[in-house]
């Protein structure tokens, strides 16, 4: 009988990939990363044996191994120069960007970077891009997921700050690729949080998501309606988070220390130690109202008192910045704070009492944090992953966080796609030549809100060639911007009179070149080879176990079919296989399996003969073939 004909409307297939593994959601955070999955209705965070969900986004580069997470954070105390933390702040950044914030970052930045390239870090004797460091974090998170699920994890929805620009998004996708993950989608962190929140609490209406983490700040305004999560406006600051709180506190402590001990210059490692004390003070002052914290450097200890009021003074300018950005985003959404029904708090830094107070004051309502602010983003990502691989009734409609435009005469930026445009989107704009007979035109793609190109972020440059000779202003160059659902941009340009065309997937100015990516992939393949070896060994052992059990069972039932010497020969081979399987050489294990197979061939043959003979008794000839097949399969087991 043929299967019933299935007719679906496009996009309505209830279970598009019944056999596809459920994809996971990953929150790749500045400070902490998490992996979650949504089997059934409720998403859950995947934890290690000790029940820990958060993997600190900290990587230690030791002589012979790479360590990620809690252990790497411990290593930071003794070998600060081998450890990278908060690398997310550098994703998609150029060396120039980083030098601008130099001194604020506890890294040593590799000096010689060919201009325009991606920034590189010098750590533990290696030179690494932020993409590679992020890939190491993703590998660790993926491994945790695989251990918890007992299967391979290959597809994931990965979250990014809503205001991440094109370069940072591309860098995140590259990191996933290096870690052996297909990034099904990049989802904006606040949108993911809203999804988790809305689906769990059945929220409807206008909501704001206020996400203040370790390194980044995001604010989104969404409308939740009948399972549709429509982002109205979004904004944020890529360099505003708990790390900056730590920075101002550490500076305060170090100034005190300098007065006391007359110390001047700190090494990068020493700065990291001071930042750790500052962070401890900040976090403890969430519950305590005052306390005292030591800083130990070069064997000398200083003690620093801090109370909640002083902490508030220190961090207030930073919180003010977040509040001002929030007001701007509300205005973009054409909403007033009173219109918002609820404010969802996301990120560890929303635990700081001053942050809560100022959010409450702005919106005039008690902020919501009943889903763990540390986990809500990963849970939302897991829900979206399930929606993409298994179908869902919920739908996310997101927007572009930053305006996209082109450089025009005089270094001005002409916007083609304004910020907060729903995606996917495609917009075209016409430009013309400004010289007689001009045959090529440089197209410089920029992202940002400023009028001057130099104050925005340069995304890519390319040249449209082969424009036929015309007088200035006669050519019609149509530039098309297309932004996909990941927020990634493709630009194409065409001279409409003649159809001369050129297309570029925007290769970010601060991205990795194709060659660099290929080199890294090769290197990660080598790691993959080690992993593969381990897996093959495990498989060989499983094969060995399987045949030993089968032969053992057969001997117990049918030993009568064998002579004494035949039986001893088989038992000797079994003994040999057991011994080899203890070792680490999968080839030898495979050989021993083969040898045991050989030694039992005759035995298996006799068992099969007997099966067939008994099967033939009283069986119609037409069914014979089937039975023989079944018997053979049985004997092989």
């Amino acid at each position: 009988m043929s299967p019933p004909l299935q007719i679906h409307e496009p996009g309505q297939t209830p279970l598009p990939h019944a056999r596809r593994d459920l994809a996971v959601g990953i929150d790749l955070g500045t400070t902490n990363s998490l992996i979650a999955i949504a089997e059934g209705a409720r998403p859950v965070v995947l934890r290690d044996k000790a029940g820990r969900g958060l993997v600190p986004s900290v990587v230690a580069y030791m002589e012979d191994r790479v360590v990620v997470g809690d252990e790497a954070r411990r290593i930071m105390v003794e070998h600060p120069d081998r450890v990278v933390a908060s690398v997310k702040r550098l994703m998609g950044r150029g060396a120039e960007d980083v030098l601008r914030v130099a001194g604020q970052l506890p890294y040593e930045v590799a000096a010689a970077v060919e201009s325009g390239g991606m920034v590189r870090l010098r750590v533990g004797g290696r030179t690494l891009t932020p993409v590679e460091v992020s890939a190491d974090i993703l590998r660790a998170v993926k491994a945790r997921g695989e251990a918890a699920l007992g299967r391979k994890v290959t597809e994931a929805v990965i979250t990014v700050p809503a205001h991440f620009d094109d370069a940072a998004r591309t860098a995140t996708k590259d990191a996933a690729k290096l870690a052996g993950l297909t990034a099904l989608r990049l989802v904006n962190e606040p949108t993911a949080a809203a999804l988790a929140y809305g689906l769990d609490k059945g929220a409807e209406g206008l909501y704001a998501v206020f996400d203040l983490g370790g390194g980044t700040f995001d604010i989104s305004v969404l409308r939740l309606q009948m399972g549709v999560f429509q982002v109205l406006a979004t904004g944020g600051d890529p360099l505003l988070g708990g790390d900056d709180f730590d920075q101002v506190i550490a500076e305060h402590f170090l100034a005190e220390r300098a007065r006391e001990l007359g110390e001047a210059h700190l090494t990068t490692g020493e700065a990291k130690m001071a930042l750790m004390s500052a962070r401890l003070a900040k976090e403890e002052l969430t519950t305590l109202t005052s306390g005292e914290w030591p800083i130990v450097l070069g064997g000398r200890t200083s003690h620093h008192r801090l109370d909640r009021a002083k902490l508030n003074d220190l961090v207030r300018p930073l919180v003010d910045r977040a509040i001002a950005i929030t007001q701007g985003v509300l205005s973009d959404a054409r909403m007033d704070p009173e219109d918002v029904k609820g404010v969802v708090l996301v990120g560890g830094s929303t635990r700081v009492p001053l942050v809560r107070d100022m959010v409450r004051e702005l919106f005039g309502t008690e902020p919501l944090s009943d889903i763990d602010p540390d986990e809500v983003v990963a849970l939302g990502a897991a829900l979206q992953a399930a929606a993409l691989t298994q179908g869902s009734s919920a739908l996310l409609l997101d927007v572009t966080p930053l305006s996209l435009g082109i450089e025009t005469m005089g270094g001005l930026c002409e916007k083609v796609v304004p910020r907060n445009t729903p995606i996917p989107t495609a917009r075209a704009q016409e430009f013309t030549t400004y010289q007689d007979g001009q045959s090529a035109m440089m197209i410089h793609v920029v992202q940002g809100e400023r009028e001057l190109v130099t104050e925005n972020r340069s995304l890519a440059r390319f040249e449209l060639h082969g424009i036929p000779a015309m007088v200035a202003g006669a050519a019609r160059i149509r530039v098309l911007f297309a932004v996909d659902v990941d927020g990634l941009l493709t630009v194409s340009a065409e001279e409409t009179g003649t159809g001369v065309r050129q297309e570029v997937a925007v290769k970010p100015t601060y991205g990795l070149s194709g060659d660099e990516m290929a080199g890294m992939l090769r290197a990660s393949m080598e790691h993959a080879r080690e992993d593969m070896e381990a897996r093959l060994l495990a498989e060989a052992r499983v094969d060995a176990d399987r045949i030993l059990i089968a032969v053992d069972a057969a001997l117990r039932i049918d030993a009568a079919l064998l002579s004494r010497t035949e039986r001893t020969a088989i038992e000797n081979q079994m003994q040999a296989l057991r011994a080899t399987a203890q070792g680490h050489d999968r080839h030898r294990i495979a050989d021993a399996v083969e040898a045991l197979n050989g030694a039992t061939e005759e035995f298996a043959g006799r068992r099969m003969d007997r099966e067939i003979r008994s099967a033939l008794r009283g069986v119609a000839v037409s069914a014979l073939e089937d039975r023989v097949g079944a018997g053979a399969a049985e004997a092989k087991k």
Binding site: G11, V228, G328, V329, T421
Partner: protein, 173 residues
């Protein structure tokens, strides 16, 4: 644009109906519904979802909707150069600018904002009439007026944000 969302070709739009159709289309055709589908279907979904977004943007905004209707009627909307020659529009724009510049407190800005919103509403009502009467010349002028009003409201909102936010201006740095 109207056809993409199955809306009648007219200036008046039932906002709730527009929303309902927009969500319904995206529910069916958004690229998230097509992961793992054949390339051709994915292409189609991307294209259609993009068009639906564009139609929603145009139909949901009175100025864009009016401009689109004028374009359909072969009477493209008036350009900025034409405005400079229209003393009535120009005068009113200057007056409002002045009022905003003079407003200092949040309450004062709110007052200016409220007046502008009232004017925009009245202008939209007149536009509806002009389109209903197929008076395209009148519609062109009103569309331009509404464009100015919208821009002004935008600016006033931004001003107000800055007043509320104290000295922390430049929300989108």
């Amino acid at each position: 644009m109207f056809a993409i969302l199955g809306m009648p070709v007219q200036f008046e739009v039932d906002a709730a109906e527009l929303e309902r159709r927009y969500f319904a289309e995206q529910r069916r055709f958004h690229p998230d519904r097509f992961t793992g589908k054949p390339e051709r279907e994915r292409q189609f979904s991307m294209q259609h979802s993009t068009n639906v977004n564009e139609a929603y943007r145009v139909l949901g905004d009175p100025v864009r909707r009016a401009e689109h209707l004028l374009l359909l009627a072969g009477q493209p909307a008036r350009t900025v150069e034409e405005t400079v020659r229209d003393p009535v529009i120009l005068m009113r724009a200057l007056e409002m600018r002045e009022a905003l510049a003079e407003a200092q407190s949040r309450a004062e800005i709110d007052g200016v904002l409220k007046a502008a919103k009232g004017e925009a509403l009245a202008c939209t009502a007149e536009l509806t009439k002009a389109f209903a009467n197929a008076d395209l010349q009148c519609a062109r002028t009103l569309t331009l007026q509404l464009t100015y009003l919208q821009k002004f409201i935008e600016e006033a909102r931004e001003r107000r944000t800055r007043v509320v936010g104290g000295q922390s201006a430049g929300a989108h740095s």
